[in-house]
Symmetry: C2
Subunit: 728 residues, 2 copies
């Protein structure tokens, strides 16, 4: 018996149960890095060629890390890296990518894997970013392109300092199937890993630091924030033109039209060239549309048809497997990028196409290459899967950068490091409530997401979806299959137009908020958990006490997943047409009677966006807004710079008049951003921040003022007026 | 350009794109083995300590492998083994573990991972056995305890000899989102792997060879095939006794009672000792029950409470993580097994407990140890997860073997090599149709499964579930939470009794069929696809042409998943109370009007089990059996040895009278198995096969005869009568 014990002890030593203490280096203020083992140099951030915005990080509040670095452990276990991070009682964890049903990640187990979202938050999603933030105000990035498994406060180690209480299930009604866990555990199936830590002091600051480390968020061209319609997949040039004219005739805004697969001569796999029947004169078509003020965005997927003009040239630089019979360019090989880029440039970008919708870079497993595929670069199929989205975005973005023209498009996947790429994620999942949860979660992981509108079962659903889509990074109808127009549901067509116009009116505000995303790292659309004064409720509840229905008495987290912040001041609380029950195990939305909903207001006073009236402070309110309105509330002292409704976003150099709205009883200061709206000159300092000050004068009347743009700085602002929405 | 090409070519060489040709050795007739790379010696079969039944394999029909071994390829890709196996057009693949919704596995992608079934067939299931069989009549086992990823006819390689046709999705309506694939691909995340091939000639033969290689299927004690009731979790000794008496009083058969967690002093984690309050005299209780003819089976999970008498002793031999605050014995360490076994032996087995229900050895991930856990044996957390079920079954089975007593129990998981362990898998999922699909799939992977009955929403559902449960490896009501009795639904209580009695009447037949499982490898309950003359329909159908609902025009496989064979002759076609629609993407069951269903009859004539009437041959029939009957059909020439209905299975040495039923117009021969029904003496040759011959005499009348048991061989048969069910 004694000998065996010694043997076992030796095995313990060999398998490395004693974790190594990590060496941390503060590489930028509030950003620490460690390298454990021998990581592959190919990582998420290396694939994205991330360049930190050092200046902006240095400008941030200096702070300590609110996480004891000595409590972070790493060890090699059976040839893989096992990382663990401590958790405190009451601490909540957010992030781990674009989840659709949960905001609180503590208690979840995920395997982070780029994929189409399959209706459960298990790590397979369009942006499985291995980054998380804590309610305590710090962030953690595991910079690995492997499939990472994470146990977020679920595992319990024998050596835990905060072990859960042992209970007898037979008789103790407080027994829980999920005992308390004080640890985040990560399995990295590799010989080593790089980990980065981001300080707060607030959760939002940790997110900002992460975004800035990845180069800051993207700044779309101004037209990118206008309205876009994706037309039926088989539309011809004439039909697309007709669609644009119909928008104009009916007075609906439209900045760009998206052409779906039919613009190509073959699709799935793709030829990357125009179909001569549907588009006999592509250059003329694109030019004509642009003259009418409507840009063209093109759908594609990256899989090359044997009938494509680039097939022969690119074939040697493609993977071992085909996707829909198309070869898969290895974008980690220079030649593959060059051959593809040359085709896009010559055939499309040089004639004025404004951007792409990059489809099918997510999953599912049935469509993409299997993990056994081999690529000529030697980068594994798994790492290629995790980064393909970023490589494809970067290749196209680079083409526009070469022309000093900004692009703004759509993509099916993103990952860590893609923060500054001008692409918005979309998918086919089409659950309106879950789309809002995804919008919330996008703010924790440095990606953009649109709750796109396709078609609907009713006018109510159509309008409800449209209303929330307006308060998102891309205001869009995707009619690739349905052919639906904004006015298709006639009985709500005026309400739809009201919100399409409101989107245009809000452009100065949204454009400024995107500038903050770029320069300061603040997500333009974001979770309530990132808002100061928002009350977390980490409570759990057991939804069914019946052991027949719920044999383990599983509890679920009460979490706020159906309202969000749009920019600095707006709180958006979408209405869902069908208040249907969610998936089993999910907490239902904050609903009451049909047509009503609950809204959680953070600390401070809040005002109705439409009327300026006071609605409450730091409390839960119930609203019954009627079909015409999506509930939107403004923070006390909120400043919303707006312009008049127009059919197109202002062009480069065009002056616009601004109406600055003020809400509440607090004086206010807001910095309005401006640049040419189309080029990358802002990266060379060619931009302006104009200070708006609103205060009461000696007579007790509200007054507003705006500073000048500065000598030689962009100034596209014409007349500025002030509107004080809240009556005393 | 030229240099880069050479560089890429070199990388191709280095990454090993040229797959190695494997060396195959015929280790037993019709069984070939290869070892690729340097596999870990710890495998699924090594953990199970499998001993092939060489004699039985040698007795099988000699045949070639209907799979070109030269077409099987292996290569190392990024440090993992990539295996590929060819597929032919029209070939169908079955197996890959206990799937609940699909029978056809061609077209599926799975990661084989022991887990609770989570309502989609993705490889996470109670028995993710890495074994598959082909409709062409061969089987493949990948003997690895890692999580294996398999792409079953989904991937398309550029170098495929049977490439799919390139189509244009824009205009070609025959475009498919899943192009034709001619390959099964397997990723083994390890430095090597052992692969075994099993010849047919039929698909059933390949299954048989696999089962025999793993030692043959288990042979339960005779009482194990009687009826069992699991009582409410907090029942006391008196209540359990009362339950047994009530069964007897009402005339319902009962061979063993299962006690749920409350028999232990603490549960979740467990103490492995009786609760002194509910069971003040365990030995007296067990003895008293046994004298009444009712055995005791005990629920447990393997996780040791700090309040258990064995905690201190076993703690050094447990993993790094706890499960429900209990330590996890490392059953790969001798001491852990010994300490646990000693407690079970002393406290339970030595006083006459007949077996266990081993819970919680499957998952889910939230309950069990994470993949980062470390075990003192040095076996990884993953391999421990994949084999823990087998180790736990084997430990308890060994205790009974030491006593020369057979056991028969329940388990939540199984894997390759567990074929001969006397345990039946169950779970909480409780979908009646999917339970039947699981029963079908259990036959492809060498495990047993019970579609257990717990409670029901209606009398109809209760009866329908009960009827199919009777035709399964374990006839059971699991009332751990509900406390439901067979007679709880009064309006169908007589019908329930009819089927409980029928189970007892069928014991001679089922016992013989289990003997065939043991001696010949033939699964007692099995898929229609294993039945000669059953017509496969490999057709695919697109369920929705709407791109809004089905953006990729996904097609689903038409497959037979709601009828099965029970023993050599019976075809069982369960009725489901609610003919509700299945999960999206699933083909609905073969239903017509409420109360009716379709049944696919294999070639040859078929007869009604209850009446002996002819019902059809090689065709699809529609039946409307009424609530009282589950449709059961008998093959032409079918022989069903039955006994009279009894409350208990015959004890060792007890003589029973047999009524041999014959169906149809064919003469027949059937080998009736017999042994003592309780010990392992059959392994030493202490058994008999008696030949039953049925033929028409010269007068054209049916006559039957049965041979003698043989000198010194077991003979528990009293009077034998013959009943010719089909009138001329």
């Amino acid at each position: 018996m004694k000998k065996s014990f010694i043997l076992i002890f030796l095995i313990f030593l060999v398998t490395g149960l004693h974790a190594q203490i990590l060496q941390w280096h503060e590489i930028l203020p509030g950003v620490w890095k460690t390298v454990y083992g021998k990581p592959d140099p190919y990582t998420l951030l290396s694939a994205a060629e991330v360049k930190p915005n050092q200046t902006a990080i240095e400008k941030m509040v200096k702070t300590d890390l609110l996480l004891e670095k000595g409590d972070i452990k790493a060890e090699m276990v059976n040839g893989k890296v096992y990382l663990r991070f401590p958790l405190e009682r009451g601490e909540q964890i957010f992030g781990f990518g674009l989840n659709f049903q949960t905001v609180h990640q503590r208690g979840r187990i995920l395997t982070l894997h780029v994929d189409h979202y399959g209706s459960s938050d298990n790590g397979r999603t369009h942006a499985p970013v291995p980054f998380y933030v804590s309610s305590r105000g710090y962030g953690v990035l595991i910079n690995s392109a492997e499939y990472l498994s994470v146990w977020v406060g679920t595992g319990v180690r024998k050596d835990s300092k905060n072990p859960p209480e042992v209970k007898d299930r037979n008789t103790d009604r407080t027994w829980s199937s999920r005992p308390y866990s004080d640890i985040v555990e990560v399995l990295v199936p590799a010989d080593g890993v790089e980990v980065l830590l981001f300080a707060g002091p607030t959760t939002l600051d940790a997110v900002r630091r992460y975004n800035l480390y990845c180069g800051g968020g993207c700044l779309p061209p101004r037209w990118g924030l206008g309205f876009t319609q994706r037309v039926h997949r088989l539309f011809s040039a004439d039909q697309a033109l007709e669609e644009a004219l119909e928008f104009e005739k009916r007075g609906f805004p439209l900045d760009f039209i998206g052409l779906e697969p039919g613009w190509q001569s073959r699709s799935y796999p793709c030829t990357f060239e125009w179909d001569k029947g549907r588009y006999p004169d592509p250059a003329g078509f694109v030019k004509n549309m642009k003259e009418k003020g409507v840009r063209i965005n093109l759908w594609t997927n990256p899989y090359v048809s044997p009938e494509s003009p680039i097939f022969k040239a690119i074939e040697p630089y493609t993977g071992s497997h085909t996707v829909w019979c198309g070869v898969v360019p290895d974008f980690n090989v220079f030649q593959a990028r060059e051959i593809m880029a040359a085709q896009l440039k010559k055939d499309q970008i040089d004639i004025g196409v404004s951007g792409y919708k990059i489809d099918e870079v997510d999953g599912g497993d049935h469509y993409l290459w299997p993990d056994v595929a081999v690529f000529p670069s030697g980068i594994s199929a798994i790492k290629t899967r995790q980064t393909y989205c970023v490589l494809a975005m970067k290749m196209t973005d680079d083409l526009y950068r070469q022309r000093n023209e900004r692009t703004f498009g759509l993509v099916r996947a993103n990952n860590a490091g893609g923060n500054n790429l001008p692409y918005v994620i979309y998918n086919d999942y089409y659950s309106h409530p879950d789309f809002i949860t995804a919008l919330i979660n996008s703010s924790f992981c440095g990606v953009l997401w649109t709750p796109e509108v396709r078609s609907s079962n009713s006018s109510e659903e159509w309008l409800r979806r449209f209303q929330s889509n307006i308060f998102s990074p891309m205001a869009m109808i995707n009619a690739w299959s349905s052919g639906t127009k904004p006015w298709s549901f006639e009985d709500v067509s005026e309400q739809v137009k009201f919100y399409a116009n409101l989107r245009m009116e809000l452009l100065p505000y949204f454009y400024t908020e995107f500038a903050k995303y770029h320069f300061e790292g603040t997500p333009p659309f974001r979770a309530m958990a990132l808002e100061p004064g928002f009350r977390h409720d980490n409570g759990m509840e057991v939804r069914s006490q019946s052991l027949e229905d719920n044999p383990y008495l599983e509890a679920v987290s009460r979490e706020c997943k159906d309202q969000y912040m749009a920019g600095e001041y707006l709180l958006v609380a979408p209405m869902f047409a069908e208040q249907t029950s969610r998936n089993a195990g999910q907490v239902s939305r904050n609903t009451t009677e049909p047509g009503s909903r609950k809204v959680l207001l953070p600390k401070g006073k809040w005002y109705d966006f439409y009327t300026g009236e006071y609605v409450g402070e730091g409390q839960e309110i119930t609203v019954t807004p009627g079909l015409d309105r999506i509930p939107v509330f403004v923070k006390d002292g909120g400043v919303i710079p707006m312009m008049e409704a127009r059919l197109r976003a202002p062009a480069k150099g065009e002056k616009i008049n601004i109406e600055v709205r003020h809400y509440g009883e607090k004086p206010a200061r807001y910095m309005l951003y401006d640049d040419d709206g189309e080029t990358f000159d802002y990266e060379k300092g060619d931009y302006s921040w104009r200070e708006i000050i609103i205060a009461k004068n000696k007579k007790g009347q509200w007054e507003g003022a705006i500073s000048k743009a500065g000598k030689g700085k962009p100034d596209n602002v014409g007349k500025v007026t002030f509107k004080f929405m809240t009556k005393d």
